[in-house]
Symmetry: C2
Subunit: 233 residues, 2 copies
């Protein structure tokens, strides 16, 4: 299984970088080919902008989705986006590795989705969810948090972590991925011993990346043209 | 009441730009001074990076929170961040205006929070939520969505919109804002008439910006040192 790791942390010596390196080494040991994209090292541009479109217009309104689709169809997407498109084509599984900043991904990770999950490629013309562009591929969020796990619980200060990650999981399923339960590393500044234990736990978790059951999402057929559940249950 | 509008859309002629302009005009009519930051026009950098820190280190690991706090304390934050810090100091209310892309804000909006909500300014040294840096200021998300409202309901394809916006609302409250219920414009490509009706509805909504009751969040005193609710209810 080809695995693409996308890393969104500015420091090479960060714990997020260590998690990405651990993943690459363990997946290689399991004979899975791995490629890693270090978005900060690549100076990846997070702002979806006019350079992403085929249009000659430099001012005024654009139909962004149509422009993205046209640029993709005509092969005029920017080279940094194209590289990531090719990597996603190659990959059977995607790991997004990043720290939780403000209860979400760093801007560089969000921008990677904004620019690379292109209409005509990742979704579009009726393709989404169980007919999404990345159908049959697996996706895993591997994230880090400073607070202890107790903060991300039903009775915790920030509420359940599933609610924090929901917009991202919904996005990944929208484009067709089988979304695996997230790997969440809490309290990462507690001690070096704690971080070592997390790395070991991540290794164990990755041995199951081909087998773990994905999260459950309904198929498109359950919804009407207004995106309403046909038979509320 | 001084109102800061932060706009995160690349097209000047977009409906998001129209919403920002409508807000500015209506708030002016209500005698509230308004300033608008058009993040795309300002080419705002969304990537929190080494340029944000006081450290001379160009490689290796950094304690990001400590570095941000130090840069703020020593006055060495970059000029684009400083401008936004000053605007937030000036503002009594913040409106974030953006399209929902992948069930979240565009990267440029997320990056604005990553870089401008600085420790020592927006939070830190025990200040958060009901002791957060922006205590007494109000915040409103004004967002647009292509799908109809039925898609963002309990029985809708994407689930309730409150779940989509939760990480952002949690962030705004973390830094002390009184978070107003969001203004969500659905189905914005339906027709020009529909968009005109939304602009009128937004105007009406803005007449209540000083009076609307904020969303309810528990005070810090309700939680223990592990961020756990002291008395589960």
């Amino acid at each position: 299984m080809n695995v693409l790791i996308v890393l969104g942390h500015l420091c090479r010596g960060s714990f997020n970088a260590a998690l990405a390196e651990t993943a690459a080494a363990e997946l290689n040991r399991l004979t899975h080919p791995v490629r890693t994209v270090d978005l900060y090292a690549a100076e990846f541009e997070p702002r979806l902008g006019r350079g992403d479109f085929a249009s000659e217009k430099t001012e005024g309104w654009l139909d962004i989705t149509r422009e993205q689709a046209r640029a993709f169809r005509e092969g005029s997407i920017p080279s940094d986006v194209r590289e990531n498109v090719e990597l996603l084509r190659w990959a059977d599984a995607l790991i997004l590795q990043f720290p939780i900043w403000w209860f979400g991904p760093p801007a560089i990770i969000k921008g990677w989705m904004d620019r690379v999950f292109l209409p005509g490629f990742a979704y579009g013309r009726g393709r989404s969810f169980d007919t999404g562009g990345f159908l049959g591929k697996r996706a895993l969020l591997s994230v880090t948090a400073d607070p202890p796990a107790t903060a991300y619980a039903c009775d915790g200060r920030f509420g359940v972590v599933d609610a924090i990650l929901w917009p991202l999981h919904l996005t990944l399923r929208y484009v067709g991925f089988d979304v695996l339960p997230p790997f969440v590393a809490y309290d990462i500044n507690a001690s070096a011993e704690h971080r070592s234990a997390i790395l070991l736990e991540f290794e164990r978790r990755l041995t199951r990346i081909t087998n773990d059951a994905p999260m459950s999402f309904r198929p498109n057929a359950d919804y009407d043209a207004q995106f309403r559940l046909k038979v509320p249950q």
